[in-house]
Every structure is written in C-alpha cells, then in structure tokens.
Amino acid sequence: MLLLPALLILGLFLYYPQVDVFLLSLHRVALLGARKVFVGFDNYRNLFTSPEYLHSFTVTLIFVMGVVIPGLAISLGLAALANQKIRGARLYRTALIWPYALSPAAAGTIWFFLFSPVAGLVNYFLDQTFGIKPDWFGDKHLALFLITATAVWKNLGYNVIFYLAALQNIPKELLEAAQVDGAGAFRRFWKVTFPLLSPTTFFLLTMNMIYAFFETFPIVDIMTRGGPGDATNVLIYNLYRDGFRFFKTGLASAQSVVLFIFVVILTLIQFKALERRVHYGA
C-alpha cells in the first residue's frame, strides 16, 4: 500500500513512456504524429542494415571505453593523491570535485572555446610553444579524443568523491600490517587497497557506463554535433538527430529500444562476470 505513490510515479513517468516508445518504434511516424503507419519491425531492419548506424555502435563503444577506463583510472589516482595529509588537501578536493557541479552543456562549451582551432587558447599556446595547431574538430580522431576527454573531465568529480570516501574507509591496520610484512607502496596499493576498493570500482563502472551512454549528449551536441562526418556520432546523438532534427520519430524510438536493451545486456554481463571478483566487507 505504501508503495503505491512510488509505483504510480514510476508507472506514469517510466513504464508508460517506455511502452509507448516501443509501440512507436513499430510505426513510421511523420512530424511528431501527423501520420502513423504500422510497419512492424521495419525500423529495426533499417537500423541493422544501415552502415551508418553500425558505425555509430563502433564509435560509441570506443567512446564509452575511453570514458570509463581512463576516467576511473585517473579518478583513482587523483583520489589517492588527494587523500594524503598535506596542506591544502581540502582545497584540492574541492577543486577536483568542482567539474561535477557543472552542467554537461557548460563543460562542453568551455572545452569548445578552449580548443577552437583558430581562435582558442589551447592552440594559441601550442602554436607559441611547439608551432603546431591541431585541427581538433576537423580531424576524426582528434574530435573523438576531445569529446572523450571532456566527458572524462566532467565526471572526475563524481568518481573522486566515491573513491575518496572508500579510501578513507580502508582500515589503517591492514596497510600497516602489509608494510610490516615488507610490502612496498606499489604492492600495498594493488594487493590491499585496490581489492578493498572493488565494491566502489564496480559501482562506478556501472554508473560511468550509464553516464557515457546517455548523459554525454550535451557534450557531443555542443562540440561536434556528431561530426566531422560521422566520427563522433554516438548512439544517443544519432537517436536525437533522427528524432528531433529529422523528425523520424519511429526510427528514433527503435534506436531508443535498441540502446536500452544494449545497455541492459552490458550491465548484466558486468554483474555476472565481475561481481565474483568484488570483495565486500573489509
């Protein structure tokens, strides 16, 4: 009985739209509903036979891996550094967490201005120091690298908070015991700290994956718009473009369903494969 309000809201804002989206994906819809024709699984067939959409999958996979793995690695490193008892530790921690408070659109805009090939600060300094002016938005690889970097930077704060908290929860006795046994700093980290951080790492892996798949849309929209060509056309961007730029609601709905199933599968794999290796409880 007490669950009813929560269920009502979930039903209205989550389940009903999802069912609606699935139904829409089985139609060809014109102009947000002017005309709806049932076409069965045609939209899905179009998607999986379209080289652009399959290319989108590749781009997204590279992007997600680039956001999740370096993101967690860098965050862990930063958290470990910020965990030391040094002067200004509070300041460093605040500075590290700050980007998380920005909206992704703001983050995208900042990096867009900084890396503007002709009039941006970064190229100005690179030109003065090294004499090079990389074409950040015109080169396929650089553009993908740039949005990945922006996405990583934006989420550092989030990861650092969790890692900091987890690091501070590691019992000192274990580390001291390891030190007494003769383990060096590196050994201590990998054999004691890292395994004890595994619940956090596991959690952050899932959260960062969701972030990379869904919440990085503003960054792509502001910085590259899927370009140059289709080099940064991640799945969520392709969905938006088909749905709201080209008004192909049916096709976009199909993409939404595919993306959802894809992420669910990835998460399930993650749980099955990795959960065994998580050490809960110190």
Binding site: R28, A34, V37, S116, R225, G227, G229, F246, K248
Partner: protein, 447 residues
C-alpha cells in the same frame, strides 16, 4: 486592526478589477537568442501597453529547430502556442504538420485588413504558396560578406562591392601570403550558404520547380553549379585560405573573424548591428560586400533567410484576433524600422524602407543596405524563391557534411575536383533517399 481591514479591502478590490479585465493571453514562441531576447521582450511589452486588452507572452524556445519541435509537440498535447516563429526551411513541415492556419485566413476572419503589396515582393514570394500567404514575414535576412578593413588596407587589397569567387580567392591569397592574417576567409560549415550559391546561379536545389509545383523527388547536387561551389570551397581549404569550423558552428566563425584570425567572413545580415559594435570593441573596422558568386555566372539573387510568424489553428477566436493584431503591429512601419536598426534583419515593408532612406539612415550606415540592395536586385524565380521540401532539415545535414567529406578526401591527397565530385555524389544519394523517406512517411511516396 482598522488599517489591516482597509488594506484587505484594497487588495480585494484590486483583485476584483484584475479579474474584471480579463486579458486575452497568447504566447509568442521565438528563436531569437542572445542579445535579441531583450529586443523581443521590449517589443512585446510595448505591444501589451498599446493593446491593453491583449497580453503577448514572449518565450525564447532555443534554436529554430527546437522552437518548431516545441510548437508541434505542444499542439499535439492540446496546448498550442499562439504565435510561433519558424525558420524558412521549416515551411513545408509547418504546413504538413497541420498545426497552423494560414495567416491570410486568420487575418481575414479577424476582420482585419492588410495590404500585401506593401511588403517586399521577394519576401512575400517565399511565404506565399498556391496563392495563399501561410506565414507572416518578420525577420528576413540574406548572406553577405563582412571584411576587416584594417587588414585589407595594410595588405593593400581592395574588394569590389559585388565580389566574385575569384576576387575573394585573390584577396585571401594576398592577405595570407603576405602574413597579414592567418586565414583569408571563414564561414560556418552550413548548408544555408550552399543553398544561396545555388540560387545565385539560378540553379534549382530540387526538382518540381524547387518543390513549388509539387513535392520534390530528387536533388540537383551533382549540377555544374554545385561543382563550382565545392571546387572553390575545396581550393580555398587546400591552400590554407579558408578556416573551417565545426559543423554549423556560427559562433565559431564569428569569433574567428572578430579575433582577426580571418580577414573575411560570410555571414548573415542579421548580425550587422552587432558585428560592427563587436568589431569596434576588438579594435578594427568592418565593412560589408555582396555575397560572392562564381565569376562565370550572372547574379540571379539570393533566397531570403530568417523566419516568419505562424499562427496556431487551435486557438479561440479572441486569441486568433490577438495574434492577428500582434503580427500586424510588429510589421508596422515603426516596428519594422526599429527591428531593422537594432539587428540588421532587413525591413520587410517597402514603406519602412522608403522612410529609412529618406531619413538618411543608409547614408550613415551603408552596411545595413548591402543585404537590401542584394535582395532588390534578385529576380524572382523558383530558384530564388527557396526550395520547399519536408525533408529539408535532413538534406541540410548531408549538404553541410559534404564539406567534411571533401576535406577528408583532399587531406588524403585527392584533387579538389575529384574530392568535390565524390563528396557531392555521396551527399546526393543520402539526400535523395531522405526526400523519398519523408514522402513515404507523409503518405505521398516518390514515383
């Protein structure tokens, strides 16, 4: 206690008076962002004062595309906006959506009168289809060339008032080779400019008389006109004279020009007022010239850009009257002059244009006249009336991205002509497919 009762009474009276004066409220959804938001708000406030029985509530809805999306979605949800500003290329979609009523009809049914002959013919021709005026002209623009006078003087280069592709190429070359600026020219990688270059060459963008005689079924992206455009563009890029931007990055192109990294900028006249001010802030003078065209063609003129005002169908008769009064007021001579002087969008009424000339405005600010001259020299034909197609937004994406494909091929070592041809061929295939997909969705498949 007594004072409290008196205050309560006054409050109740005020409330009663407010209830008694029920204003007819309509929303005005627009896409005029940045510094233009304030201009629109002030204009609406003025209208509300002059017409106290109406209240127009302006709301900035984002880009033109976001505004169209919002308008259609709201109408489907049963809460349509009153007046909506829609971009030119959304015309076919706006009609197909069934959300709007032709403005001509709304005005007639409200019992108001309008003299369509008072508007610039080129502007009217864009928004009149099959003899019915669908939307009300408001912010019309066309592309012009801005150039950095100081850099040009230093380099000893002159630009004619009506430059050709060759003139621009030569000027850019001299400036860059002489080290006067890192780049000769820049403009946003956007299909709008390509469409304008088609019009200048008298080339239709799509068949069926540019979509005016009936729904189109293919594009003319492999025409000689298209090749001329892309070969010139590719040549400028290859020789390091053109600074490419991110896709549709208007802001980036403007910044490149204002940061004096490029000596010329092809942009919209709607930024004339702002560009002059910002250039002065940045420490240089800017002048304008006509949109450049290939040397071997005669100028046919430009297509009007910008947007127009549409009125929703599902409004009460009072709301429709309010909307009609609003669009008529905002296009009155005084308001047209005001909008023009504050932005650079040209005055759509001939009488307003005349008034400005007599007042000597254009003698003091000749740059505001460039776009108007260009427009008045336009010969009205299907090529300059602007293509009408439902899939325009998707086709625009492919045309714009064709530049990046050409750029990629040039970087790989192909000749400019070959790169242009391949890029155009691929763009045409995608664009034609998009046109027919839209037609299938709307129920009138390609033959």
């Amino acid at each position: 206690m007594k004072r409290f009762l008196v205050l309560m009474l006054i409050a109740l009276l005020g409330f009663g008076v407010a209830l008694g004066q029920e204003k007819v409220k309509i929303t005005f959804w627009h896409a005029m962002g940045g510094w233009r938001i304030g201009v629109i708000e002030r204009m609406c406030a003025d209208f509300n004062e002059i017409f106290p029985q109406y209240e127009v509530v302006p709301e900035f809805k984002g880009s033109y595309r976001d505004t169209l999306n919002a308008a259609i979605a709201a109408a489907r949800a049963g809460a349509p906006a009153g007046v909506v500003q829609i971009f030119e290329v959304g015309t076919r979609m706006a009609i197909d959506s069934g959300v709007f009523e032709p403005v001509q009809k709304v005005i007639e049914e409200a019992g108001l009168e309008v003299d369509w002959g008072q508007f610039i013919p080129a502007v009217m021709s864009y928004y009149t289809i099959d003899g019915t005026v669908y939307s009300f002209p408001f912010n019309s623009s066309n592309p012009i060339l801005y150039y950095n006078v100081d850099i040009f003087e230093k380099a000893g280069v002159e630009l004619p008032k009506k430059p050709t592709f060759e003139d621009v190429y030569e000027a850019a070359k001299k400036i860059v080779e002489g080290g006067y600026a890192p780049y000769g020219i820049t403009w946003p990688v956007h299909s709008w400019f390509v469409e304008q270059w088609f019009a200048e060459q008298g080339q239709l963008l799509v068949d069926n008389e540019n979509g005016l005689a009936g729904r189109p079924s293919q594009t003319y992206l492999l025409s000689d006109a298209a090749k001329r455009i892309f070969t010139w563009w590719g040549k400028l890029y290859k020789e390091g004279l053109y600074a490419p931007t991110a896709f549709e990055a208007w802001g980036e192109a403007k910044r490149n020009f204002l940061a004096q990294q490029a000596a010329m900028l092809i942009y919209s006249t709607s930024d004339v007022a702002n560009m002059r001010a910002q250039a002065l802030d940045a420490g240089f003078h800017v002048r304008t010239a006509y949109f450049p065209v290939p040397a071997e063609v005669e100028r046919h003129g430009v297509i009007i850009g910008g947007g127009s005002l549409w009125i929703s169908k599902d409004l009460t008769p009072e709301q429709k009257k309010a909307a009609a009064e609003f669009v008529l007021w905002i296009s009155s001579v005084a308001q047209t002059i005001r909008w023009h002087q504050l932005t650079g969008y040209f005055p759509v009424k001939l009488t307003a244009l005349q008034a400005l000339e007599e007042e000597g405005w254009y003698k003091r600010f000749p740059d505001f006249k460039t776009a108007i001259d260009q427009l008045q020299e336009t010969e009205i034909s299907p090529a300059t009336q602007g293509a009408k197609m439902g899939a325009f937004l998707e086709v625009r994406e492919y045309i714009g991205k064709a530049f990046y494909r050409m750029k990629e091929l040039i970087d790989q070592g192909k000749s400019v002509e070959e790169a242009a041809e391949i890029a155009l061929k691929e763009a045409k295939a995608k664009a034609d497919k998009a046109i027919c997909e839209y037609r299938e969705a709307i129920g009138e498949p390609c033959p």
